[in-house]
């Protein structure tokens, strides 16, 4: 049911954890299943220098979080904002239809963290 990439990211998730004194924190709760994801950012010169996540959710949610973190680490905030949920799912080699909503958590929580970072800076 899950692709090899999903299994890989689920089994060995990248960038799990918290960042103390993070520059931006975003959190997203899935409306369909109640699962939850939290993203921590360290930003320098509009570039994501560090990213960590915590996820309470299914295998697809964990793999999506991990993939998302890998995709945006070292990228500009604008590039990160351009990342869509679909791109996360695609990068994982696709997700089964009933699990597509799980990848939504990842990009949404990331965008939330960036928004909070910018709001705090103003």
């Amino acid at each position: 049911m899950y692709s090899e990439k999903v299994i890989d990211h689920f089994t060995n998730p990248r960038n799990v954890g918290e960042i103390e004194n993070a520059d931006g924190i975003g959190e997203k709760v899935s409306s369909s299943c109640g699962d939850r994801m939290k993203v921590f950012l360290k930003v320098e010169d509009d570039i994501i220098k560090d990213i960590k996540f915590q996820t309470y959710g299914c295998g697809a949610a964990i793999a999506s979080s991990s993939m998302m973190s890998e995709l945006v680490l070292g990228k500009t905030l604008q590039e990160a904002l351009d990342l869509t949920n679909d791109q996360v799912a695609d990068a994982l080699g696709g997700l089964p239809a009933p699990k597509l909503h799980c990848s939504n958590l990842a990009a949404d929580a990331l965008h939330e963290a960036i928004k909070n970072y910018r709001a705090a800076k103003v």
Binding site: Y2, I7, F10, T11, P13, V16, G17, E27, S32, C33, G34, D35, R36, M37, K38, Q54, T55, Y56, G57, C58, G59, A61, I62, P98
Partner: protein, 386 residues
């Protein structure tokens, strides 16, 4: 990697003796038992022999057994069939909030057709309150459908008390005993049951066969209309190999039940106590004592059940979250939900269903592997703080 199968509440492997008994009926004795020639006579005798074996396991007479294709068909036939046959006497059905989808969605369907259904709640152990049952009865009540053993938690309903209440009020009593038959003693006389569903693939018979016990005198509108098979209660050519297999499986279950259930209970208790000891903030879902001996439903707070199952699966261990039929749907189990378990706890529930082939080493391997999985997932969880 050794594969360990602990999902026997979803389905079981066919037992070797069962398969051996079935094999001659595919190519050698394949006649239609309704036929008058040699090919039909051979199978006609085998059909009735199997019927006797099933009847013996639940203490009824062979003529009260109707062969079906699965537990779901049995539940649909019992509930729709009795509801329609009794329609002129009333339109009220009582069931419980924790029934299998085959019962619940059948009841939902009947609600669209002029029936009223009461879904009785359960307590924190998944247990039914017999007083609430009595209170729910009205003069329009025609049917009570309450399961013998819950498939997700293993909780055993007080079927004999339910049967007594129903009998006292002259109400037809159906019980979905798909998880109970072959695992705990089932006696339709003692429990005063009128209709009882059995499924082959939960007790070492193949998928594709089941049975419905229909007490003599209970009227039932058929679900599958057709020929004169099964005394006009179920049309369709008999699934002879499956039926023969069900007969043998019932025979074996009756013979082995005391020994096997004791053995599985010991293994299950070892697993349960080991997990509770090794993993803080974990809990058992289900009744502490009134429970199937093979079933353990356990929650590990702060994480999600599916993730646990995936990690177990990678290590070759097959377990499940709730009923297999629900696993492509989202969200919590309606059973754990109905027990009032905290949603995050409920989300982490996984079910072990031990079976005939499980050993002490299997249990010990799970005890070795699972605590680390839980720790890893908790370390990822935004809710968990050591």
């Amino acid at each position: 990697m050794k594969r360990i199968y602990m999902d026997n509440n979803a389905t079981t492997a066919v037992r070797p003796e069962v398969l051996d008994a079935m094999l001659p009926f595919y190519r050698e004795h394949f006649g239609n038992p309704s036929s008058i020639h040699w090919a039909g006579r051979e199978t006609g005798a085998a059909l009735e022999a199997a019927r006797e074996k099933v009847a013996k396991l639940i203490n009824c007479s062979p003529a009260e057994i109707v062969f079906t294709s699965c537990g779901s068909e049995g539940n649909n036939l019992a509930i729709k069939g009795a509801a329609e046959a009794l329609r002129e006497r009333g339109n009220h059905i009582i069931t419980t909030a924790v029934e299998h989808p085959a019962v619940l969605s059948t009841c939902k369907y009947l609600e669209k057709h002029g029936y009223e259904v009461t879904y009785l709640p359960v307590d924190g152990d998944g247990m039914l309150d017999i007083v609430a049952l009595e209170a729910a009865i009205t003069e329009k009540t025609i049917l009570v459908s309450a399961m013998w053993a819950n498939n997700e938690t293993g909780t055993l309903f007080p079927v004999d008390k339910i049967g007594a209440v129903a009998r006292n009020h002259g109400i037809c009593f159906h019980t979905d005993a798909v998880q109970a038959v072959g695992r705990v003693p089932v006696d339709v006389e003692a429990a005063k049951v009128d209709l009882l569903s059995i499924s082959g693939h939960k007790i070492g018979a193949p998928k594709g066969v089941g049975a419905l016990y229909v007490r003599k005198g209970i009227r039932l509108v058929p679900l599958i209309h057709g020929g004169h098979q099964e005394r006009n209660r179920r049309g369709g050519t008999h699934n002879l190999p499956g039926i023969v297999g069900l007969g043998v499986a019932c025979d074996l279950a009756g013979r082995d039940l005391p020994e096997v259930s004791q053995r599985l209970r010991r293994l299950r208790d070892r697993l349960e106590q080991g997990l509770l000891a090794a993993i803080p903030e974990s809990q058992v879902n289900g009744h502490p004592s009134e429970r199937l001996p093979n079933t353990l439903n356990v929650s590990f707070n702060y994480i999600e059940g599916e993730a646990v199952l995936l990690f177990l699966d990678m290590q070759g261990i097959a377990a499940s979250s709730g009923s297999a039929c629900m696993s492509d749907a989202f969200g919590q189990s309606h059973v754990i939900d109905a027990m009032g378990v905290d949603p995050m706890m409920a989300n982490s529930a996984i079910r072990f269903g031990l079976g005939y082939d499980n050993t002490c080493e299997d249990v010990d391997r799970v005890l070795e592997i699972l605590p680390a999985i839980v720790k890893k997932l908790r370390d990822m969880s935004p809710f968990y703080h050591e």
